[in-house]
Symmetry: C2
Subunit: 252 residues, 2 copies
């Protein structure tokens, strides 16, 4: 939906409310985030959107994700809402209007304070078809260690998403959407390490992961490695869904 058509139908949108999505993918043993480069700014931005008056906020988030990745039915989780008074969205949106030569008189809805709801998604890197339509010129997977300066409070939103993803690791299985169908234990460990931002002890990780009971060892080894070939694993879908529902219970 273009900004013009939203402004022409602003009665159809919740006032002062937006959605921002932190979309994580895993590739080349590192965690990446899908970011957009707008035409109107040197800084990059998280994919986002608005909430129509007859859509639930979760549906609005699903729509943002679908627009930018082509994907549906993936792991998407609301993690926090951002509503500091110094988000500076009015200043920022004023500049956007100037860039697109849209008269301010037609954009009262856009020139108010916005509170934004953050969602994060875990998607399959290879299944994603990034799309930079509308106000954007580039969409790109950017390595977590190489995040540029983002507009508004988007760096804060991204960091908070990562913090929440780390917490989730202790209560939920993660990886189903991030890894290919077959993977080695080392690849799985690398995923956890890249999310946690620290190295894990190999033996401990193997032991804990096996005790959860969501992995199936396959009768197949990774072939393109020189020395001892590691085994492939896949997720036991049924058990994975069960643990996703019941929680890992790693704490008390």
């Amino acid at each position: 939906m273009s900004l013009e058509s939203i402004l022409n139908n602003s009665n159809n949108y919740q006032p002062g409310l937006s959605i921002d999505c932190v979309i994580f993918g895993f590739h080349d043993n590192s965690l990446k985030v899908l970011l957009l480069k707008p035409k109107f700014s040197e800084k990059w931005t998280l994919p986002g959107g608005f909430v129509t008056v007859d859509d639930s906020i979760d549906v609005a988030a699903v729509n943002v994700l679908k627009e930018r990745t082509g994907l549906t039915g993936i792991f998407l989780r609301q993690f926090a809402t951002f509503g500091d008074i110094n988000r500076d969205e009015i200043d920022f949106n004023t500049k956007v209007l100037e860039f697109f030569k849209i008269p301010k008189e037609n954009a009262k809805w856009y020139l108010q304070r916005f509170v934004t709801i953050g969602y994060y998604a875990l998607v399959d890197f290879f299944e994603t078809i990034p799309s930079a339509n509308g106000k954007y010129e580039i969409i790109e997977w950017i390595d977590l260690n190489n995040i540029p300066e983002l507009i508004l409070d988007h760096n804060k939103i991204l960091n908070k998403a990562l913090e929440n993803l780390r917490l989730e690791l202790n209560s939920l299985p993660i990886g189903f959407n991030l890894l290919p169908e077959k993977f080695t234990m080392t690849e799985l460990q690398k995923l956890y390490e890249t999310i946690l931002g620290r190295e894990l002890d190999r033996r401990n990780f193997f032991r804990k992961m096996n005790s959860i009971g969501i992995l199936k060892k396959l009768d197949e080894k990774k072939s393109n490695v020189s020395h001892k070939a590691p085994n492939f694993y896949c997720f036991d879908t049924e058990n994975y869904q069960k643990v996703l529902k019941d929680g890992l219970n790693m704490g008390w």
Copy 2:
């Protein structure tokens, strides 16, 4: 702030946005929630409020808490935002206006779709001074096992708060605001059990809790018990704050 004065100054409030607070206290070995009985409804409600255009959402939540408990500077955490389209707030608010005989023409701001941000707080039962001013006739600590039917989606909000508090137990120390200054290990264990909703093994709990390093054993025993008197403990404030900042790291 009364509903009338909010409606007379509705330009000062974010449109379609409210705050709801789940306030937990611990007393008589059980977890309780502070709930209000409105004049206009048979169902009870969570304490809530609105967001003025020049306050951060966190400040709005602090204000709700202060109004209902008299407390400031306590553990308060945003946990989720609720924005399903079937929250039924327009129907509900229409009935509130009818009850207070406020003409609908003066209440356009109130008769729109509201999205609500949930916060939960952990407070000291004995320091709280519950206050039921405004549209409410009763405010009461209600046992978690005895929660009545609440208005709108407030039961869902309460359950989600509890779910988040349970998750937090695995990453943060909890108890500083919920327990008296001196407490026994059994009382601390009881707090964890009542939050988790299940019994914990005594030895395991003692071992894990001691390994965190946030407790100080006092040279004092609980006196009004018949058999072997248990030791009193208090929190080591400095270490507690450190773990609160760094996290418990009980998982991977």
